[in-house]
Every structure is written in C-alpha cells, then in structure tokens.
C-alpha cells in the first residue's frame, strides 16, 4: 500500500482529538458519552491498523519507518523524534485494541464519573502510543513515567476496595523509584555523547565499564516493570485493586513496557553489558518463574492467580530475550503480544463474574458451567491459552523461547520449563474449582453472559486461536527488528546477510540450529552462505 501521507502522527494525535471531543460532552448525557467514547476508541483502533497495512516489513534500509522529527529544546539538542519498527506497531495496535474493550467492559461496572474515567483511558492510550513510537531517550523516559499519573488515579479512584489506596501508592512509588535510575543513566548518556537520539546512539560504542553502569541503571527501571521477583509485590496489589479496565491495561500493555524497554534499549545499546549480565538475568528470571508459578498455586483471589501467572510469563519473556538467539527474541515478542490478549481476556472474565457476584474469592464459586455455558467456553479457552496449549497463541511464543533458551543455558531452561507444568496445574485447577463440580450454594443469580459481554469475550477467544494458527501475520513483522537486535548483540551486520535471503530460509535454519550466526567454540561469525549450503 503506497501512501504518501505519514500515518504515524495521525495515529498519535487521534486519542487527543477523541479526548477533546469527549471533554466537550456533558457528563449528564451518559448514554451519549458512552456511545461516543466507544465510537472514538474504535476509530482510533482502525486508524492504528493503518500502521500494520502500510508498514514495509522487508525494508532493511531504515529500521524505523514513518519517522518524523519536530524540534524541541534546541539548547540541549533534543527533539521529538518518532518512528516505529515491526515490534512497536503491534504494541500500538494492542493498546488501541484494548481501549475499546476496556470501555465496553466498564459499560456498567463504572458507576460514577464515567466521563473522567474515559478521559483517563484515552490519556493512557495517547501516552502509550508515544512511549512505543518515540525515538528519543529523554522523551521515552518522560512518557514512560507519565503513564503513572492516569494509572495511579484510575486505581485509586475507581478501584474496588479500601486497599486500593495502598496498592496505588505501591504501584506509583515502586515504578518511580526504579525509573529515576534510568533518568540518571539517560543524563549520563547525554553527558558522554551529547545526544539522546536513539538512532544516533546505536552507532556509539560505549566503554565496557560505562555500559555496565548504564545497563544496570536501565535495568533497575525495567525490572520493576517486568516485574522480576524481589520487585514484584506491587503487581498483584495493583492488579487486584484496580477496576477491570485498569487490570486489563496493566496486564495487557503496561507490563510489557519492561521487556519492551530491555529489547529496545538495553540490548542494542549495551551489548557488552548484556552479555556480562546475562547469567544474572537468567538466574533471577528462573527464580521468578518458579517462585511465581508456585505462588500462583496458593492464591485464593481470582485476580491474584492471573497476576502471579503474568509474573511467570513475563519472566519467561525475559529468558527468551536474554537467550541471545533470533528465535528466542522472536518468541519473547510473540509471547508478550499473546499474553497481552490472554491475560487481559482472563481479567475480563474475572470482571464479568465480579460484576455479578461482587467477590473475587475462589471459594465462593463452583459449578458455573451449569448455568453459564457460554462463559465456560471462553474461560476454558483462555485458561488453556494461559498454559500454552498448542493451537493457542501462547504456544508459539513459549516454544520459541524454549528453543532459544536451550542454546544459552540448558539447565536454566530446564527449570523454566517447569512453568509449563505449573501453569497447567494452576490453570486446570482454577477451571476445575470455579467452573465444574457442584453449584456453590452461595450463588444467588443464574445468568449467562449478555450480548455486550459475549461480543468482546468471544472476540478475545477468537483472536487467541486465530494467532495460534496464523502467527505469520504477526511474526513476519518481527523479522527485521529482531534480526537487528540479534546482530547488534553478536556484532554482526544486518545488511550483509539478511537482505539476500528470505525469512523462510532463515527461520527454518534458526529452528534447526539456533546459534546459526556464531560458532560457539570460536566465537566467530559463520558466513551465512556456508550455513545455507550446509543446510542443503
């Protein structure tokens, strides 16, 4: 699709336009407000799909497409630099996909101040679009942090219990404390290089000691967001106390900011430090995976089960990213996106029964399948997706992560693989407890999903299965950026090898031999041509 107009500024500004329109509607006209906000969010989603259609997925010349530049602070050489690659467009689309779903799901559950709620949702959408498309470190930090303000307010104002205040505090302070280190790191980068333009910084080789300092300062901030285990306590609290839409956004997009940041900034900018810290990251991630999987088994709160399983999955993503293989990185991205749909779908399911019965404790439920068959189908599909059953979107990501992780450390991978068993255990057990068995006598209402809930839940379930079978529609777009990251990590130049060969050849080779670019013994890159001949 050949378009002369740059779609990215339109996509970024679309939520702002919606915000202005909704701001002008009086909060007394509730039905108009709801309809307009839904229409606007769907329009924004459709606009953001333009990125998908007009992105050139095999363009190796410019990594960041739709790029544009607006001057900002001339004094210290900063400017609004935007551009998206094959990874970030999917996060933008995921965000814009989840916003209408958030709005439909809070159609009746948000009882007061609906207008402000929608405004904050659109504000988050706007800020997240910026986070995923900005190519300047300081602006990335600014937008990364500014998401805290609306999220803090959403948890605090529309949260369900009194503990929400504690949760929002924890969410805010953990993230803020983590990311001030990143601010220092960014300023230090600026101090060394005189620029914070990401594309310029890719050409800079930092000294090893500097890399270690900078990598660590960035990691402090991303580790809180992923979250890895000693820093994870904010996450279950925030998820449980937030309203359903807040949990959906937290699990769907905000959790991905950590791994996205690692992939976008830590790995390409500081390859030496990445190698240096890989054992540490793998150790922490494996501990996190096992710990949070085991913790999930013990939870009594429905939202906490999903929150802790999110911790486990996000740490699997970290293992994939730090496997230093093409497949592992691809798998990490795929699992992030799939988890964005699966976990938000599960949170929506929890929201549905919370709206009906006003509790999230597992012991009050039982035998829901008897009178909620439609709900049961969706819940089981999403639970199976959560444990990575073949045929669902999570399977692709998990399998690629395991393929890649085997190369870097088979023992760590063995431990991480236990998450498959654990996730099967907690998912099936959860289904068993709330769906099957005798009907809990405490249940007073017997009503299946209504039309509104059916619409978005079936959509989620459909997408989970769709992407399980037709992953190429997404994975093809990762090819260039993840190859790029991989090659930067291994000091291998992208243009040399990749432009000549098709993605199918490379993917096929990757799966057979994940370390295809580097000979492990000598540490030297193998000529790809040779590799190709060997394959035949």
């Amino acid at each position: 699709m050949n378009m002369n107009i740059n779609v990215l500024p339109i996509v970024i500004l679309a939520p702002l336009v919606s915000m202005i329109h909704i701001f002008l509607i009086s909060s007394d006209q509730l039905s108009l407000l709801k309809r307009k906000s839904l229409e606007h969010s769907i329009i924004v989603f459709i606009i953001s799909l333009l990125l998908y259609t007009s992105y050139d997925r095999y363009n190796f010349e410019d990594l960041f497409q739709f790029s544009f530049d607006i001057g900002w602070i001339n004094f210290i050489n900063l400017s609004f630099t935007y551009g998206v690659d094959g990874i970030s467009i999917f996060f933008i689309i995921l965000t814009s996909f989840l916003i209408p779903i958030c709005i439909i799901s809070s159609w009746e559950s948000i009882k007061y101040r609906f207008k402000e709620f929608v405004l904050y949702l659109f504000l988050i959408e706007f800020l997240l679009f910026n986070v995923f498309s900005v190519l300047d470190l300081i602006l990335f930090y600014a937008f990364f942090e500014s998401v805290l303000i609306p999220m803090f307010i959403i948890i605090g104002v529309w949260g369900s219990r009194n503990r929400r205040i504690y949760a929002s505090y924890q969410f805010f302070l953990y993230t803020f404390l983590g990311s001030v280190f990143m601010l220092l790191g960014i300023i230090y980068i600026y101090y060394i290089t005189g620029s914070t333009d990401y594309r310029y910084l890719l050409t800079v080789d930092f000294l090893p000691k500097v890399q270690i300092f900078l990598w660590f300062s960035f990691f402090m901030s991303f580790a809180v967001k992923i979250p890895i285990v000693p820093l994870h306590t904010w996450l279950p609290e925030a998820h449980v106390e937030a309203p359903t839409a807040g949990s959906v956004l937290l699990a769907g997009v905000l959790l991905k900011l950590g791994a996205y940041g690692l992939l976008r900034f830590s790995l390409p900018l500081f390859p030496y430090a990445t190698h240096y810290f890989t054992p540490l990251v793998l150790t922490i991630s494996v501990i996190s995976v096992v710990y949070s999987s085991l913790t999930t088994l013990r939870q009594v709160d429905l939202k906490k089960v999903i929150a802790y399983s999110s911790v486990a999955h996000m740490n699997l993503v970290t293992i994939g990213i730090f496997s230093h293989t093409y497949v592992g990185i691809n798998g990490g991205i795929a699992l992030m996106l799939s988890h964005g749909i699966v976990s938000s779908g599960l949170f929506l399911c929890v929201g549905v029964i919370y709206d009906r019965y006003g509790t999230r404790l597992i012991k009050y439920y039982g035998g829901l399948i008897n009178f909620m068959p439609s709900y049961g189908i969706i819940f089981v599909i999403l639970s199976l997706a959560n444990m990575g059953l073949p045929g669902t979107s999570s399977f692709v990501g998990e399998m690629l992560i395991f393929l890649g992780g085997y190369r870097i450390n088979s023992f760590a991978l063995f431990l991480a693989c236990t998450s498959v068993i654990f996730s099967a255990a907690y998912s099936v057990w959860l289904c068993n407890r709330i769906m099957f068995g005798p009907i809990n006598p405490k249940i007073q209402r017997y009503s299946d999903l209504n039309e509104r809930e059916n619409t978005y839940l079936y959509l989620m379930a459909f997408l989970v299965i769709f992407f399980g079978f037709y992953t190429d529609s997404v994975m093809e777009y990762f090819h260039v950026p993840s190859t790029f990251v991989y090659c930067l990590l291994t000091n291998f130049f992208v243009q040399d090898a990749i432009t000549l060969y098709s993605i199918d050849e490379i993917l096929a080779y990757c799966i057979i031999k994940p370390n295809f670019f580097i000979d492990l013994q000598s540490g030297m890159p193998i000529d790809f041509l040779m590799a190709k001949h060997n394959l035949k």
Binding site: I73, Y141, A142, E145, I153, G156, V157, N162, F176
Partner: protein, 499 residues
Amino acid sequence: MNFLNDLIFFLPEIYMCFGLMFVLINGVYVQKYSSIATESIKYSSKYTLGMLFPLLALLFFQPKYDSALINALFINNQVAFFSKLFVVVLFLSLSISFLSYYKSESSNLNFGYEYPVLMLLALVGMFFLISSNDFLILFLGIELQSLSLYVLAASKKNTITSLESGLKYFVLGAFSSGIILFGISFLYGSTGMTNFNDLRYFLLNLDTLEESTFYICLISFSFILVGLLFKLPAAPFHSWAPDVYTGSPTAITAFFSIIPKIAIFTVLIKLVYTIFLCFNQYWSFFLLACSIASFVIGSLGALYNTNLKRLMAYGTINHIGFMLLALSTVSVEGVQASLFYLTIYLTLNLNFFTILLSFRKIDDKRVLFSIADFSTLFYKEPVIAVLLIFNLFSMAGIPPLSGFFSKFYVVYCSMNSGMIFASLFAVLVSVISCFYYIRMVKISMFEYENNKSVHANTKPVSDDFSFVIVVTSLFNLLLFINPNFLLSICYSISHNLFL
C-alpha cells in the same frame, strides 16, 4: 546633570513610591469618612492592582542598555530587568487573586487598607535590592523589604499564631540582617570598599592580596552568604521558615513564599557569580553542603506533616536545595538551570496557593488548614481538583509536567560538572518528596467514603481565582510543548551576568 539623567532609570521606583502614597492617603481618607469599616481594603486593593499595569509599561519602556547609575550605586542590566519583570508579573497575579480573598476575609475585620501598601513597600525594597550595585544599597533594600514583611507576618492581630510568627520572623530576620551587616563591615574595614565593581576588580587577582586581607574577605563573604541563605531559606538556616509560614495569614504566606525569593535569589547569584567568583572553590562546596542539607530536611520534615502551610514550607526548602545544587556547579548552565527552576517553582507555588485560597471551610469560613481538608475535593470541584493534582505531580517531578523539566535540567547540569553522587542523591530525594505530594493527591482524589467535605461548595470559585489558576496551570501543563522559550531567557540572563 548626571543625577537627573540617571533618574530616568528610576521611573518605576518613583512611580511606585508615589502610587503607594496615594493608596495610603486614599485608604486613610476612606476609612475616616466611610460608614463601612471594611470599605478601605476594597479600594486600596483595587488601586494597587490598577497601578501595577502602568508599572509593567514603565518597566518595558525603561532604557535597556547596561549602565551603572548614581556613582555606581545602582546597576541597570538584563538581570535586573527580568527579575523586576518577574516580580511584578507574579505580584500582579497574586493581587488579582487577593481581590476575592480580601472580599471573603473582610468580615473578619482583620484586613485594613495597609496590606497592599505594605506589599508595595516591600516591592520597592526588592527593586532596590535587585538593582543594587553597592553593599549599602543591598542592605537598605533587604531591610526595607524585610521590615514590611515582619509587619505583614504579624498582621492578623487577633490570632496568637500570627503574632508569634511575626515576632519570630522579626527576631530571626533582624539577626540575619545583623550577620549580613557584620560581613559588610568586615569587608569595608579590610578593603575600604563597598562597591561591587571595585570589589570585583580588587578580588580579581587573589595572588596580589595579603594573606590577612584574603582571609578577612573570605570570612566577611561567608557572613554575607549565610545571611542571604537565611533569608531564602536554605537548610541549615531554615528554622524560622516552617513556623512563620504556618502562623501567618495564608495570603501573606503566599506573598512571602513567592515574591521575595526572586530578589534574594538574584542577589545571591550576583554576589557569588561576580564579586566573589574568585572564592568559587569555597562557596561551591558550601552551597553543595547547604543543598544536601536542604534535601534532607526539606523532604524528611514534610513527610509526616499534616499542616498544609508547614508542608509547603518544607517543600520550599527542598526546592531551594535543587536551586543551590545547580548554583554549586560554577557554570553558566548552572545559573541558567537555577533560574529556570526558580521560575517554574514559583509559578507552581503561585498556582498551589491560589487554589488553596480559593476554598473556604464550611464551618468557620476559614482557609483550608490541614491536608485532610482537601478530602472529597475531586467529587465537589473536579476541574480544580485535577489542576491541583497536576500541580502536585509537577512539584513531585513527574513528567511531562513543568516540574520535571526544571528538575531534569538541574540534574543534567550537576551531572555535566561531574557531581554524580549529588545528582543521585537529588533524584532519590525527589522520590521521597514524591511521597508527600501524592499523599495530597490521594486525599483530594480517593477519599469519598467518609464524605464529610470540609471545604465550601455552596458557590463556585470566583473569576479572579479561576483566571490565575487557569493561567498558571496552563503554564504547568503546556511548558512541555516548548520549554525553549523560557530556557533561552534564562540563558541570556545568566550570560548577561558575566559580562
């Protein structure tokens, strides 16, 4: 005549003196012949506001070239021009919001016509202080300003806290003025000079100085510096600030937490960066120590405070720490960053105090006192509550609000001059200070269940308040789009300082 020629440069000051005489005489006249006792404050506040617009015009039409006036007692340059402009603009916005404040406060019979007059008198003092080029004028300016402020602090005659704060302010303020005077007299005794230019050239080559003269100059400089830091207030010379801020009437707290800071800060920058630049290895360390102390005291002191004004006083000390951190870098960028910080911080402060003044408690019609009084604000006044929380987030330094850029620029400057641990400390402290700012956000946004709102919601916030609140909030929210404008002004000021 040289003298008469120089008077052209003093048109704003002369105009203000005549103006305040007029307001004073008018106030006396109205109070004597009016049947309503509170009529006089209404007139004098309106006249004060009215005379500020011609003052702005006079400032703009003042000759712009750099010149030393009246035997080099005064100096006229870009630094002086911008500081005066900033003083007048902020005082103008405060006066606008005071119109409604006086109206609602007039039933208490506390406020007479003297208050605008005293504020104008303090303003004259600040003008002299800003354009001073001689230690005598500097001292006279400080005294004129401080004397008016002492009276203002004690102005609520029927409350004991106001009297207490006035007394405390007077005793400690006089003490610090004494210290400054002591330093000046030492300097005069050893060198025989009080003029800034003379001293600057005298101290330019330290090698030729005798050792005793050098040390006496250093000691006298330390005295002057301590006195100025006392007035700012920077820790560890801050002890008067929380008490005085708490005790004074809220409008007066707003006045002297905002306006005098500009004048004192300008003078501080002028002294350390021009005359005493030769002592930079001493004062940079000293300012750094003060800034660290301010960080610690400002953030920890505010942590468990529930009194709004006391909390803001500690917050001010914390913010002063950032400005001093920027100054201690000994660089043009440092001055630029500190001026940038000052501008943004004072605007935020103005916004906060205007919002504070615009609400009244339901029971006793007094201004909000404790942070708990903000509860349920979001459910009663959603727009102002949202502007308030954006202000608080901005003070806490959350991007993309203006407070973030000021902090960012300061940290950037200190990183640039190699002070990595100081900048690390600064950002960690900003996390601690974030805690008490978001506690206020929590109270105004999240608490609706107890549902006993203490602030008045019977009538909407008046136009005067809304105007100031909206203008300052727009500054806060939209600075993100183009901070270049403000930065370039600060840059030209800081460059001008070294010429």
